[in-house]
Structure formats: C-alpha cells, structure tokens
C-alpha cells in the first residue's frame, strides 16, 4: 500500500545551500495494509525525516513515495489534501501537538471544517462517539479541556481519534509513546495493534527496540540515514546479522537480565556515547530535522564512502535483508 523507492533526503547547509547533508540515503521499504512496520534508529538516523517525507511535511530530494499505486511525492493542493484524508500522522510530544491556547476540540474541529463540512451535527457526533470508543476515550473527560489538563496518553489517543475521523488507511506514528508514562504507554501501543486488525498500515517510528519488537510485524533498522537490516520482526530480533543491530540489541536494558549476563555481550563495539551530534529525542532539535547539528554532519560525511551509491541489501533468508558490513 505504501512504498518508498530509493528515497533520499538532503538538506542544504551553508550560504545558499552550498553544501548539503544527506539525512536519508537511498531508503526503500514497503508497508502492506494491516501491517505494522517499525522503523528503528537512534537520533540522527533519519527515521523522523522519513516519516515527515511520507507525510509530505518535507519534500523528497530523490526517489518516489507511492501510496495505493499513485506517486504522492509531488502532490500539492487538492491532491495533497485528498492524500491527507487517507494518510495521517501522530507525533512524539503530545503537549506540543495541540495548540495550547485552544481546547483539544480544536484539533477535531480543523479536521471537520476541512474534510467533513457536509456532515450534519448529528452525524458528526455519532461518528465521533464511535471513534472515541475505539480509542477508549471518555468524551466527557476529554472534550472541552485544554491540553495541559489532560494526560499525555489521553492526548495521543485523541490524536489517533482525529486521524480516524477521516478515511484513514495509513498512519505514521512517530515516537508516539516515548513521552508517555510507563503505565499508559502500553495501552496506546495496544491501540495501534487493534487498528492494524482493521486493515490500517502503520509505520511505527521508535528508538526503543523493545517497543518495536512488541508491536511490529516487520522491522527496519536505520543508521546514518541508511537501512542496515530489515525483515520480519522475529527474524531481525531473533537472528540479528548486522553488527550494528547486534550492538543495539546488546545495549537494550532488560528487566530480567543484566547487561553483563547477556550472551550477546561480546559485541559491544558501538562507538558508545561518543557518537557526536547525538541529540536527546526530547529536545526540539531532534524533531525539527530542518537543520542538523554540525557535529553530526562532519561524522556522517566522513563515514560515507560514496553517498547514494551504496551496495544493495543482501537477502540472507526469506524476508530478512542485511546491508553488507562496512557499508553503514
């Protein structure tokens, strides 16, 4: 249903874009209806940039994004609006996703005015009630409130409800639970799982491997803007082949196992904390990928031998692709 073919994104830097920085490097992936694909990467890996390109919040530098057979990477005006009827996004920070001066109803009202103006008040309310039920929201507790009066979990659910008011086919969920409390995040995650059974395609962007593992059918591991490993979630997590994937997995904190005790311990050669330009997922810089920090640029440019001319992924077993080592 949604395909990315050789999508790249470069940002202009320097005076009048004299230099450029490759944030996403020749990424191809597809998401089928009723499938959750998780896009996992650390900050600066380009995962949010991919999400923004799919949502057309950022233009694509090269490559194409196809949704239900039509190339949407150049849509504007009416066509873009029609695209948004079917494809929507939810972002990391629930408090920043709402305009703080309006009640949360404003987010729904926008959708109504732009897309559902012909619905009568009664129809609208009927639809709203059923959608709110889907996302397990008690209308009375939430509607009419200001964002700061609600919990992050409620706000994220409401945003999903907002998307569901449209004829949603595909959802980009960009770190949607990383700012939520442990006690509520799993419920929002489960909600995504429920949506997929209704035939929705979901791109679940996260830096948290255990969350990606929990919810997704297929997994894409991203590093420095390029795919290092992808395939069925069970295969990627059960039989990680790329050293980067292994290193990531070994660094994931587990509840019932300590790092030292983990068998994968012999492979911790991740450049540790010294990877420069790394930014906190919560800081504004990480979500506004507009201008990447300069430190990042330097290393990324160094680490890339020939941008855009990277060797193809190797299929090592059915539905399990790995980038040749030394490539990322």
């Amino acid at each position: 249903m949604l395909r990315l073919d050789h999508v790249s994104k470069s940002f202009g830097l320097g005076a009048f874009g004299s230099r450029s920085f490759l944030a996403v490097d020749d990424v191809s992936l597809r998401v089928a209806p009723g499938e959750v694909v998780s896009l996992i990467g650390e900050s600066g890996s380009g995962k949010s940039t991919i999400g923004k390109m799919i949502l057309r919040l950022l233009p694509v530098s090269s490559g194409s994004i196809t949704f239900q057979g039509e190339d949407v990477s150049t849509h504007t005006g009416k066509a873009l609006k029609a695209y948004y009827r079917r494809v929507q996004g939810v972002f990391q920070d629930p408090f920043s996703s709402y305009n703080p001066i309006f009640t949360v109803d404003h987010a729904l009202d926008l959708v109504r005015r732009e897309y559902l103006g012909d619905l009568s008040g009664q129809e609208w309310r009927r639809r709203l009630t059923s959608v709110l039920e889907t996302v397990s929201i008690n209308a009375g507790e939430v509607l009419g409130k200001y964002p700061h009066q609600l919990s992050g979990g409620q706000l994220q659910r409401l945003l999903i409800a907002r998307a569901l008011m449209l004829d949603l086919r595909f959802l980009v969920a960009d770190e949607i639970i990383s700012m939520l409390d442990a006690s509520t995040r799993i419920d929002v995650l489960n909600l995504l799982g429920d949506l997929k059974t209704r035939g929705l395609g979901i791109l679940f962007i996260t830096h948290d491997l255990s969350l990606g593992n929990y919810i997704s059918d297929r997994t894409v591991i991203l590093r420095h803007g390029a795919v290092v490993e992808m395939g069925a979630t069970g295969l990627v997590f059960g039989n990680p082949c790329h050293p980067y994937t292994r290193a990531l997995l070994s660094a994931v904190p587990q509840l019932h196992a300590r790092w030292g005790a983990a068998p994968e311990q012999q492979a911790p050669p991740v450049p540790g904390g010294s990877a420069p330009g790394r930014q906190a997922p919560g800081t504004p810089g990480a979500t506004t990928t507009a201008v990447p920090p300069a430190g990042l640029v330097a290393t990324v440019e160094r680490s890339r031998t020939a941008p855009g001319r990277r060797a193809a992924l190797v299929e090592i077993e059915d539905d399990h692709f790995v980038a040749p080592t030394g490539n990322g």
Binding site: N190, A251, L255, G273, A280
Partner: protein
Amino acid sequence: MSVQVKDLKVYYRTLRGDVRALDGASFTIADGEIMGLAGESGCGKSTLGRSLIAIDGRMRYVGGSVSLDGAALPLDDQAAMARHRFTAVSLVPQYAMSAMNPTRKIGKLVTDLLRSRGIAPDTVLGEFRRRLELVGLSTDVLARYPIELSGGMKQRVVMVISTLLDPSLLVADEITSALDVSTQKAVAEAVVEFRDRGFVASTIVITHDLSILVQMADSIMIMYAGKPVERASTDAVVSSSRHPYTRLLLSSLPEVGVRYEEHRLSGIAGRPPSLLNPPPGCRFRDRCPLAFAKCAEEPPFVEVAPGHSAACWKA
C-alpha cells in the same frame, strides 16, 4: 547508614494552594549503595531529588529531616546548605545538555567553580583529567566549549564534574532518559563504576525507566503520588514485589522477545490523584485491583520482609 531521610515533606506553592509533591518519605541508603527511584510523572521523585540539593523559591520545605553520615543537612537554610553542596551532596541534573555555561570553556568553568568554593584547582585538576579518561573522554574537552560536545559527551563531563569532590551522596536525575540506547549504557555503567571506585558513597538514580535501574541499582524505591510505596533490593522488586502498583507497572513493560500477538500487555487504567488536595487513605486506591474497605485508611510504609518495605495493607 550513610543517608537517612525521615518523613521529608516538600510542597510546591501555586496560586491555588500547595501541591503536595513530596508528602512524607522515609528511607536510608547505605554507603556504596545505588538506589533507584522510579515512578510516573508527578510522583514526587524529582522533587525528592531536588530537595536534597536545593529548595528553590517555588518549593516549600514543610518538614522532615535528612542526615548524611550522621550530620543533619540544613535543608531549609539555603545559605548553610550551599556549603554542603558539591562536597557532601551533589547533583547530575536532568538538564545536563544545558548545564554548562555555553560561553565558557569547560576547563575554565571547572577552575572558576573550584576557586569559588575555596579549593585550589591544581589539587584536583589532575584527578579531573584522570576521570575524564576513565569515562572515555580525551582531556581535550577542557579546551572546548560545551556546544562542541555531543549529548553523551556532555552528560559524562557533567557527571565527572559533579562527582569531582567525592560526595557522600550523588543525586542523578533522569540522566539516561534523553540518550540513545548505546549512550545510555555507557552512562549507566559509568555510574556503577564511580561507585565501585569510591568516587561517590551513596547514589540516588531517578528515572522513569525501570529496566535501566535493573542494570545499575542495588535497590529500588517506587513512588506514587508523592509517597514511597515500595522499597527493596532490585531483584526483590523485579521478581517478588509486594505492592500492586509496582506489579502493575512491571507487567506493563514490554521486553525484547515479548510480542503483541503472543502476549498482550496492559497498562494501569486511571490517573494519579491531584496532589493539590489528595484524598485520604491509600492514594492508589482508585486504580488498584485489590482495593478493599481498609484502603480508606492510609497504609503505613513498613517492612514486610527483611530489607523490603511497602505501603499496602495487602503486602
């Protein structure tokens, strides 16, 4: 018994009255112990951490005591408290990314700081360099501005600065939550290493991430709505917790290997009560599956097994 906290209460002043962010916490931390402090947003864990360092104008010290190696900390006298900071109690703040003056080189910053505390910089700078190398940083960072360092690097520099004078108590507030997994690991391991090498005596690690605590903490204290609800060794908390809140919290965490299709986890319904005017009795009552009539009375925080305390009638 290195750190002893007794019935500590610190409220926030707001227009509508005091928010009882920390409403009576009592616990002890042994020398060389790393205690993890976890809970949802607004449970009071950061307030607890902050009040051990500096109670600012928005906070109000209400009661309770903290003693460090047997001597009481003057929590309500900020001037007197300043003498204990850095040397006896120290902080690795959650804002480590912006904790250093952006217009001062790191070396200069440390020298200024030491001088201002009446410590000749030469006596500790050698140790400072050694510790930087210990956490994998080159001593070049001394000649750099904070903006030239990555997030993980800044986090570690701040850690080294904060522990430079070998404090008896270190409060590490959400030091890993802003970092990527691999950086997270490096920082967490550094905390343990600092303890092992005796740079810090007792450590409090505040985080909302229980699984990172499992990696580094000797014991864990869980807080809920301004009060501690359970305190035990890390293993005991993870494998044999007594408080229903802890159990629900643990069961809501997905781990690598747990899949939605095979094993559906669930969260805790409801929200914590408002701390502006908290209801009497057990504060978890409304969300607790085990609640019964007695929960209208406040359960005491008592030892339910050796080294294991909980505040629940059914514990």
